[in-house]
């Protein structure tokens, strides 16, 4: 039983990690929490479904298209919503509220255009299951976990081993200095948004397959949980987001079966609050130095 819950938790946690990475990366380069990330997660799943059902009939092509389109949505959020705020001298909360508004637009736009009822989602990765030590491991779980791990490794390689990644790290330390070094800061930020949105779309589609349904409100609740995961791990710290996501999935799964399923979501938040109160910068975060 414990093993089963653990496996379930790691599976879902790995998808949380993908979205949490998005929060962390955007926070890293912009010092901003992108509240629209959750709704983009939902959008990715919806676009895959809609293209598959209504247009193409080929799931994987639809998936690929959805990644591209969602990435573009992410780009637009930054380019048209946030970039102009950077050039003005606005209070810090403005960007946050903008992303909040965008998340509402996306979520309720989807409701209006696609309907607010839960929609069935095909599970294209269901190839059976194995039984290991009393627990059942489905093929979807294995594939989801592997995909997420591969993506996490790729992102880590990108950020820590490539020139592009170094540019991202530079921008997250100081956009002013980066500009002076000739780094195209706006370009890096756009890239970060595209990347985080695509990751969210992958996560959303995989979760859609796993539960075999999607609905417009899935973005909001997962958005909250993955934000909490990123903060748990330390906002802006990439490995922190991954660990945070996995832990959040595990806590949720174990908590739901051992404590109470009704309080499933509360457990994640309760743990997050406990961690923040003890170590305010999260598990791996850096202490912010305040010069007096």
């Amino acid at each position: 039983m414990f093993l089963q819950q653990l496996i379930n938790g790691i599976t879902i946690g790995s998808t949380y990690a993908l979205v949490a990475i998005g929060y962390s990366m955007v926070f890293g380069v912009l010092e901003l929490i992108n509240f629209a990330n959750g709704s983009v997660y939902m959008l990715g799943a919806y676009i895959t479904l809609m293209i598959y059902v209504n247009m193409l009939g080929n799931f994987w092509l639809s998936f690929a298209l959805s990644l591209v389109l969602t990435g573009m949505v992410g780009y637009c959020i930054d380019r048209f919503g946030l970039r102009r705020l950077r050039s003005k001298n606005v209070p810090k909360v403005t960007g946050l509220i903008t992303t909040l508004g965008i998340s509402q637009v996306i979520e309720h736009g989807v409701r209006i255009f696609f309907g607010s009822e839960t929609k069935a989602f095909p599970n294209m990765i269901d190839f059976g299951y194995v039984k290991v030590a009393g627990a059942t491991i489905g093929s979807s779980q294995v594939i989801i976990l592997c995909t997420s791990l591969v993506l996490m490794i790729c992102v880590s390689l990108l950020v820590y081993k490539t020139k592009l990644g170094k540019a991202m790290l530079a921008v997250s330390q100081s956009s002013e200095a980066s500009k002076l070094m000739g780094i195209n800061v706006n370009g890096i930020i756009s890239l970060t948004f595209i990347l985080s949105s695509s990751l969210a779309a992958v996560a959303g589609t995989m979760v859609g397959m796993y539960y075999q349904n999607v609905d417009a409100s899935m973005g909001f609740s997962v958005g909250m949980k993955t934000l909490a995961s990123a903060v748990l791990g330390g906002v802006g710290v990439l490995p922190g987001a991954m660990v945070g996501g996995l832990l959040m999935g595990i806590f949720e799964s174990l908590g739901a079966s051992y404590v109470s399923s009704g309080y499933r979501d509360a457990i994640s938040f309760a743990i997050l609050i406990a961690v923040i109160l003890v170590k305010p910068t999260g598990l791996f975060g850096h202490k912010q130095i305040n010069k007096v």
Binding site: I33, V90, I97, L100, G101, G109, M224, I273
Partner: protein
């Protein structure tokens, strides 16, 4: 636009009196039940917006958990009146006290948190409260909610008609405005705003930052709780889905739209954003979509909200100063 603000600043009291008079006369002139109900809803959202504005605008802490206090107040009133037959005065007071206590419960741990960490914890708080409401079958009836909440009842007089309920709401709003106005324009208000502008400098002039932060959490929670109690008696049915983090975010949008740190701004924001979706005969769906679009545009055009940068007190003071120096010039 500046002329308008200057006019308002100069004639502040007169305008307030006129508006108040209009609001008192309103339900006698307009008898449509539908319009009255919208007005009552607006009044309630004004209370919520003002109380949140104290926390987010005057103190500067971005809390996205305000709906929780609204819900706590509503549930307190609902439980006390349906199970223990407590009259409205009692439920109102109890709602304020309990919501205030929860304000302290949220305020104390977050004292040292900054920025986004604070926001995320308030989100978590709101969600946890909602889940408690959803899961405590014994206390709150869980997802079924509490129904058949008795109407407003003060000293044996039942307030059932829309018009009478409207006046109760109006009285509550007037009380809220006076309380918040007096707090903001006092030594306490200056202390609170100094914490917002620079908490280290505030400490250096003797402001006990922790005490004031908790105080604001408690006061803003109490007012939201009061609004919740009113809501419970008015709507007569409540369930946890009315007090979500989504609602909290809507309230933040209300407060920011009108202008953080501005009392007329909070009132304006609540009024405009509550009436606007109604004028389009909208469904629930459209309302949030509209809020989203409106706030994105607002952030691009006027990030401080409509009245965010307008301080009527300072405008009036400058006007009086110019008038005085003008007089001196004339006499010279």
């Amino acid at each position: 636009m500046n002329r308008l603000f200057e006019f308002c600043a100069r004639n502040g009291w007169k305008i307030t009196a006129v508006v108040l008079a209009a609001m008192i006369v309103f339900p006698f002139v307009v008898t449509s039940s539908y319009v009255l109900r919208i007005a009552i809803t607006v009044l309630m959202y004004i209370m919520l917006s003002l109380s949140l504005n104290l926390l987010v605008g005057h103190l500067g802490l971005m809390s996205m958990g305000h709906a929780a206090f609204w819900g706590i107040g509503a549930y307190t009133a609902a439980i006390l009146s349906t199970r223990f037959n407590v009259s409205s005065l009692g439920t109102f007071l109890a709602a304020m006290v309990i919501a205030g206590v929860f304000g302290m419960i949220l305020g104390l741990p977050v004292l040292k948190l900054k920025g986004y960490y604070l926001t995320v914890v308030t989100l978590g708080f709101c969600e946890i409260i909602r889940l408690v409401e959803l899961n405590s079958m014994n206390l709150t009836n869980g997802p079924l909610g509490i129904s058949r909440i008795p109407s407003l009842n003060f000293f044996g007089v039942v307030f059932k008609s829309s018009r009478s309920v409207y006046f109760v709401a109006l009285a509550l709003v007037v009380l809220t405005v006076v309380v918040i106005y007096r707090i903001v324009n006092s030594r306490i208000g200056l202390a609170i705003m100094s914490i917002r502008d620079d908490d280290i400098a505030a400490s250096s002039i003797g402001v006990n930052v922790f005490v004031y932060k908790v105080m604001v959490f408690i006061i803003s929670g109490m007012i939201a709780g009061l609004a919740g109690a009113f809501y419970a008696h008015y709507i007569s049915y409540i369930d946890p889905s009315g007090f979500t983090t989504g609602q909290s975010m809507d309230l933040v949008i209300l407060a920011i739209f009108g202008g953080l740190g501005s009392i007329p701004g909070a009132i304006l924001g609540a009024a405009v954003l509550t009436i606007l979706p109604e004028t389009m005969r909208a469904l629930m769906e459209y309302r949030s979509l509209i809020y989203g679009i409106v706030i994105v545009i607002m952030m691009m055009v006027k990030p401080d909200g409509i009245l965010g940068k307008v301080n009527f007190k300072y405008i009036r003071q400058r006007q009086q100063m110019e008038k005085a120096s003008g007089k001196e010039g004339a006499q010279a």
